[in-house]
Homo-oligomer: 144 residues x 2
């Protein structure tokens, strides 16, 4: 039975949450995806990362990040300024429009989390996080 498979529950939980999050962002009239929001947030916090570094932080791959960044720049949420010391890269900066959308999304994300985690105690979350981290570690390819 599918229901007895742990990964089914995992998949279901994350997909449910993502749908909820996206629905609430859409409902607020904000034109951004959850994934774009995440990348934008990472750039806000660190504007000197390579695509690969961003990819590791958001757990996507470099190709996905490259396309998302191009889209965010195209939409005017990010600015790409050529880096003088490395001709391959551009320094990314969140634009004014980007800041506005991040500010608008922030409370929605917090509300979503509250809804998603309703009824879970602080201790539950700690246990959950530990188990999930263990699974991720178990699955990680041996680096070397």
């Amino acid at each position: 039975m599918l229901n007895s498979i742990l990964f089914y529950s995992l998949d279901k939980a994350i997909r449910s949450y993502r749908r909820l999050a996206q629905a609430n962002i859409d409902r607020a009239g904000l034109d951004i995806t959850v994934d774009q929001w995440l990348v934008l947030q990472v750039v806000l916090e660190h504007d000197d990362l390579t695509q690969q570094e961003i990819a590791e932080r958001v757990f996507k791959d470099q190709a996905s990040v490259a396309r998302m960044l191009a889209l965010l720049v195209k939409r005017g949420l990010l600015l790409g300024i050529p880096l003088p010391n490395d001709g391959r890269r551009t320094r990314l900066r969140v634009s004014e429009a980007g800041h506005q959308i991040l500010d608008a999304v922030q409370p929605i994300i917090l509300a979503n989390r509250a809804v998603a985690l309703a009824g879970l105690a602080e201790n539950d979350l700690t246990v959950l996080r530990q188990l999930l981290e263990r699974i991720a570690q178990n699955c990680a390819p041996v680096a070397n």
Copy 2:
């Protein structure tokens, strides 16, 4: 910090597992994706479901399932036989090639699960599943 966000851990765990699973399937020389495998497995168990019903079982949407079924038929893993009592539908059946690939993938999936869940006690899994189900339920849209 991203690391303190539960959904980050969730996303990371499921993505790690999916990558491991796909890598091992690929390594075995089997030409099927994890998602295709899941759909094929569902059809094997119930050959009279609508796309919508399959979609609910695998927690995808109908459009995704439609495309995956078309691809599975095209690849010869599924057979589509028109249903006499409903001109809109076709009865899906797993082909001989489909059975072969399911049989070949089965042990790999089991091995993957063992690797992913190494070090987790039976009790951990129960707790984990309950918490994940609760989250999914919290996020589910009110049906009516």
